[in-house]
Symmetry: C2
């Protein structure tokens, strides 16, 4: 298992995400790494991340799958291109579609494990399947269709900096 | 348009949700109301709810669709049963599946409008289609399959209070 998270390789402009940005002090700062052919992230929900007392909020679970999915898509593309994640040009994926099936209520108070596998990888998109586990039990399954960040967004990021 | 939000009728035990709980000071406190046959909610993302500079985080959009969907499912079921939302027994729905298609990047700095329509309503589930608009443009479409909160969760909510 590597020690530097996918998200920690994102350049500063791509590191403000509420889900996974290392520069967003209010966000979840999700960290994903490879574990052989799967990607893995761990996240312990805060007490206020609840749905009803005792159970984790489904929107948080969707967020974990979302950022773990785009992070995995990014890392998988660097790997496919045979170059390290700190090489140029930097890659960043955004979500085209997100799908989550909530299989069982997710208990509060334990670290969640999110595991991803790359189902499809082309120049246009990367499809990542993910599952979320609590204490060894799979509570949710999801799928992220990730696409390279469009030029229109890159242009506005640059304008926002001015 | 009614003035009391669906979520404001939830009993206290169902009002701690990070997405829509009126008793969760750290949460989004989403409020949904009827607008004739559609349900509608408005939410202005905070600056830290970003994906990349200038654009709203997709996980937040998923959360808005999630809570607006379960809220709409709850309100639609009361309406179908011909009783007001403050009558007993209280209803509460949870999400069985959530689907979001991100059609266009969602700009920061404007109020988002989330609109829902009930596609299917049975005793076992309510399906709500939703769209998220920014400045009149539809940025995301989603679908929530909502189911009545299971007895196993109700039991743990009661145990959590002890």
């Amino acid at each position: 298992m590597t020690t530097t998270a996918f998200q920690d390789y994102y350049p500063d402009d791509f590191s403000h995400c509420y889900g996974c940005g290392r520069l967003n002090p209010h966000g979840h700062q999700i960290k994903s790494v490879w574990d052989e052919e799967e990607s893995v992230a761990h996240f312990t929900p805060e007490p206020h991340h609840m749905a009803v007392p005792g159970f984790v909020y489904g929107g948080l679970i969707a967020s974990l799958i979302d950022c773990h999915g785009t992070g995995t898509a990014t890392a998988a593309t660097y790997r496919q291109q045979g170059r390290p994640m700190d090489s140029n040009p930097p890659l960043r994926f955004v979500t085209a579609s997100l799908n989550v099936d909530y299989l069982a209520p997710t208990p509060m108070g334990v670290a969640l494990e999110i595991r991803g596998t790359v189902e499809e990888i082309t120049e246009k998109k990367v499809v990542v399947a993910a599952r979320v586990m609590a204490a060894g039990k799979t509570c949710a399954r999801g799928r992220v269709v990730a696409v390279p960040i469009p030029d229109t967004m890159l242009k506005i990021i640059q304008e926002t900096k001015k």
